[in-house]
Symmetry: none
Subunit: 238 residues, 4 copies
DNA sequence: GATGAATGAGGCTTCATTCAT
DNA sequence: GATGAATGAAGCCTCATTCAT
């Protein structure tokens, strides 16, 4: 597990590894790597948008082609299946998480600050692509088992970003010893719930309020007396 | 049943209203109410099972008919649409929640005990129909808006069962003042998460451990000093 | 191998066995056996006609449906695949051979007469469904290996009808000892060639002439002196 | 009709005529004749191979391009159509026959020897390109009528090579008078059958045995008493 | 009330062909 | 001359729904 500030140094390699292990699974008939990148981005952008609104099954390849401004045939040069488009789409969303959380941590060193920033960032990325976030819950099961695993793996990797922050807090004596991955899930579900239950939550509080309240909830259980003091200091100096 | 101010007095009527407002939307060509009840149960049982495993779109009416041991034509005598079957199925799952939670509260009077029992029960019902629980997340959006509302309404009503317990604890001075419905969602998502992330959680802890840890998490934030004392007393007397 | 007059007594059972072993390979979603029989006959009749004229790949399921006067969907209730339709079609043609040759032998007892009648009948059935006969040569390879085997098996069984006649002639001392199955193929190809090369043969001779000349060709090589005498006696008494 | 040794003198012109009448129908966008020749050979070699194995319709232009080691676009510079590729492929096979049979006759003068050599050669070329030989039976009908005629014409020309030998035997008094072209077809089908029924024949005899037996079969019917004596003399002197 | 055969619109996917580079 | 990315018409097949028995 990374220490206080080693997190963002660890993440990129993990990212690279995932990418390496993922792209081979989806072969394109086109060899030009740059073009593949570009076209797939085009296709996925359209797909995520449509899948988010209408769901996987109600969205046709025709729809995606039209939205992306390309022909149906073109899609099939960059993708084997409609399933492929879904996989790419789901991964694209998870990718966003993995890109944005580290960005929010840049320059931050205090473990508690980093933890709060990470959860805050997670909630905000989810908010920024709310429908897309729900997509994972709706459609992952539409994938064949093997591909489902790829998605799960990507989720676990994103979770690591949070887990590392928690771990750092524990090691700094700010958090009590706890089941790190389980606590991570509490944080993850806090973020996801915002998207999953947005239809109701939006009537109960603002995103800011939601995050603040959620963090307090989590911290109440995790902070050690030392951690609590540290938190108050931070609050005071703000 | 909670005391305080009548929440439980609100629920049953709500139930009745929901039922009244629901069944009329799904008309059967068959008039004999008992038969309708029986046939629908048969159909829904098959549907929930298949939807849970294969998803809504991958399950055909033919599949459902075969699983239910009836003919295709029969299904269309008790249901207008494939959508109807989905709605009925989703409501059936929510129904279970609404049936089981009150059962777990029977005979309990202490507010804190009731709260814990409610959350515990919720987690356990969800666990008992894990796949079915996920179904709501996967397929609710496949429903036309109007019907989606019915499902949301049913969810809100289930939430009331938890909310009432929280409210009671607050009124008994055991919980701090809080946004009741928001906290309810924390509890609800605790239960739902068990199903949604079962693939990973099952490797991190047992259901018992999950519930216990989850409750502690929530209580850490909610209990007042009084509540904390009360909780310790309860633990001691156990 | 059947004796002089046992042939037609053996064929039917063989037929039955093949049928039993064939139908299970093609499952229908409809259970009513009579209806399946009727519908398949309808579909196959249309398919053979169209395949014969336009070939397998140029014929669409739509075409077949239209020709058969049924809907596309109906076809798929009696057949799994377009491949299935092809298999059924090919077998249907072979079936005709297996039905017509024994019919031509009914009541005939003299081995040489029977042999000539068998070859004659074969040539005439082929002529009666010329295009369909060619279909086997054009399209059998379009079938997956396993199904190709079924067709080959059916061909071998048809060949047995000829082979039995040859065998009987040998046993009666009319034909010299020879590689029965190989000679059978000469006879079979005589018949098939009429269809395969009809475009040219029809300008060289009539079917009657073709058969007569072909039989003479074959008999010239096979008849023993005894056989030759017997043949002349037959010719004289005619 | 050519005499004893005029055959190979006649063939080339016929060849040239056919070539003249064929190539114009298939226009290339490339003008350099040598290059056209080379590229087409490359394309056809790949096509024959793939068509033989997978059939015409299951083979894509992409497959052919890959097998030939050229681009898709290049193919369309040397060919108008996929149909064109098929025509070229079918003719290529027939070409082989027309090249190999005369080669087998080189230096032979005795009519009976020449006849046997011709049939023997035909059977052996067919054997050497068995799958390709079958291709003509499978795919000629996939061609539009006009082009089908070109293929038929090419077949008739190949037949002439055999017909000439038969004619020579008749004129030498070795064969009885007979319908030369019809008998030619018996010979042609003997050769073709080896490919068409190879799946079964290969289990009944060797190619050598097949040819020998086949020739005896044919000769039994054709040889005059003189011819028969001649044949025995040849056999004795061998 | 129950059945299940029949329908056909609509989706996914392939692949011959074109054309800009 | 050569390339291969792009196109989109067309085919196979599925499956919700109907209706005659």
């Amino acid at each position: 597990m990374p220490k206080t500030d080693g997190i963002d140094r660890e993440a990129p390699p993990a990212d690279a590894v995932r990418d390496e292990s993922r792209n081979p699974t989806i072969k394109s008939q086109v060899s030009d790597a740059v073009l593949v990148q570009k076209r797939r981005a085009q296709i996925v952008a359209a797909a995520v948008k449509l899948f988010s609104v209408h769901g996987y099954y109600r969205t046709t390849i025709q729809d995606i082609a039209r939205e992306a401004g390309v022909s149906i045939g073109l899609i099939y040069q960059y993708v084997k299946d409609k399933d492929d488009v879904l996989l790419l789409s789901l991964l694209d969303v998870l990718e966003t998480y993995k890109r944005e959380i580290p960005r929010a941590l840049e320059g931050l060193t205090d473990p508690l600050v980093r933890f709060k920033a990470a959860v805050d960032a997670y909630c905000r990325v989810v908010d920024s692509r709310r429908e897309a976030g729900v997509l994972n819950y709706r459609s992952t099961k539409s994938l064949p088992r093997e591909r489902r695993e790829i998605v799960k793996q990507a989720e676990i990797e994103t979770n690591q970003l949070i887990a590392a922050c928690i771990q750092a807090c524990i090691e700094a004596g700010l958090f009590r010893a706890c089941n790190v991955e389980l606590v991570t899930y509490h944080c993850v579900m806090l973020a996801h719930s915002w998207a999953l239950k947005y239809w109701r939550l939006k009537e109960l509080c603002t995103l800011d309020g939601y995050i603040e309240e959620g963090l307090e909830f989590i911290l109440a259980s995790l902070l050690t007396p030392t951690g609590r003091q540290h938190a108050e200091t931070l609050a005071g100096s703000r």
